[in-house]
Point group: C2
Chain length 222, copies 2
């Protein structure tokens, strides 16, 4: 039954990993697969994390290449000539903004799903606690779902289980879903460090969520 | 003034070339640039055509790579193991359908435009005479514009000057815009032949438009 199959966009981070466990709970492990994107990100360790997380959850993980963002240039995540501005974002977008990144990820995921009769996409975007990325917002995702349905004549549904959750609530959800052990395998740090640097905006946001939930981050024990 | 700059998605075909001349007329040659995509299409001659057309029009042409469609697989245009089904489409989509292709092209074009302060995208999609591709329809393009505006916090406008035109009217528009000589440089044939095979659906559709407009196709004189 194609309507019961789900494809999780798995970045190797905390949020998408929690979404994987949400999908396993909702659709059953036989019906879940994952896709990751090798788009020229600075920290390819994310892709190794995604593969490990999928392996631990016993679901497939397909890594699709995207060589286009690096050719477009101009952002700090894929352009090694640009330093990440840790203090960005008062007003403007942080320079880690890759324009259209989530739109592209979800559209390629939808194309991959289309070819395999999968009607459900699951993504870990959240507009609460979001880091200034407009392509993570509810309005963008809803417009994109409409675009994909019209453009592919498909019944695709984009599930965003974390959309309205704070980082604290996301940690609590991970605990409920039994995803906590898998979070030890995730990568969050913008500096690419393992153990994480603890100082970059991504590390701080993650630490805040665990602190507020009163849960120890298993990554820091690893 | 960024609102006066335009980026034309130039495939090297008749429609996008006509759109280039529409953009030159509307925005002025100093404000127009073009982008093409090397996405693993069977007929790379399209990219050479796009470069020649841009050169003749004295505008820049950037070719962006997309290695993702070939990795996803399953369509006849990018997968050389699949034969093009010339008789497809009664009911179903033709097997030249690359799911999400135009959504991806326009999103990457929007990302490229975003980095350069360009607010206008121009694309040659048309829902009249369309070959069964749902991502060429007005509803898809309008939903995508909304997605891109929300997802990039931009004022992007997607112009589709051919959307409601028949192939005959597109030929007439090309004549009006002085684009006819440039059409000698375009590529249409699905078989990749030059001179065109005249038998594939793309060749037949093109020939029908010129015939109905009572204009000789300059490509056949070339």
């Amino acid at each position: 039954m194609s309507e019961n199959k789900a494809l999780v966009v798995l970045s190797g981070g905390q949020d998408s990993t929690t979404c994987l466990y949400w999908a396993l709970d909702r659709f059953g492990s036989d019906n879940v697969s994952t896709v990751s994107f090798d788009y020229g990100q600075r920290h390819r360790v994310e892709l190794e994390c995604a593969a490990s997380i999928a392996r631990q959850a016993r679901v497939s993980n397909t890594c699709l290449p995207i060589d286009t963002f690096a050719a477009i240039g101009g952002d700090a995540l894929t352009d090694n000539d640009i330093d990440i501005d840790k203090n960005a974002s008062a007003g403007g977008l942080p320079n880690t903004f890759v324009p259209g990144r989530n739109i592209i990820f979800l559209t390629f995921a939808a194309a991959y799903a289309y070819q395999r009769g999968i009607d459900n996409l699951v993504t870990g975007v959240a507009q609460t606690d979001f880091s200034g990325y407009p392509d993570c917002r509810e309005a963008t995702i809803r417009a994109l779902q409409q675009t994909l349905r019209a453009g592919m004549e498909s019944a695709i549904v984009i599930h965003t289980p974390l959309m309205q959750l704070s980082k604290k609530e996301t940690v609590q959800l991970a605990v409920t879903l039994g995803a906590l052990p898998a979070l030890a395998l995730t990568h969050t740090c913008y500096e690419g460090e393992r153990p994480p640097c603890g100082q970059c905006p991504a590390c701080k946001l993650r630490a805040k969520g665990f602190a507020e939930a009163g849960i120890e981050d298993p990554l820091l024990r690893a």
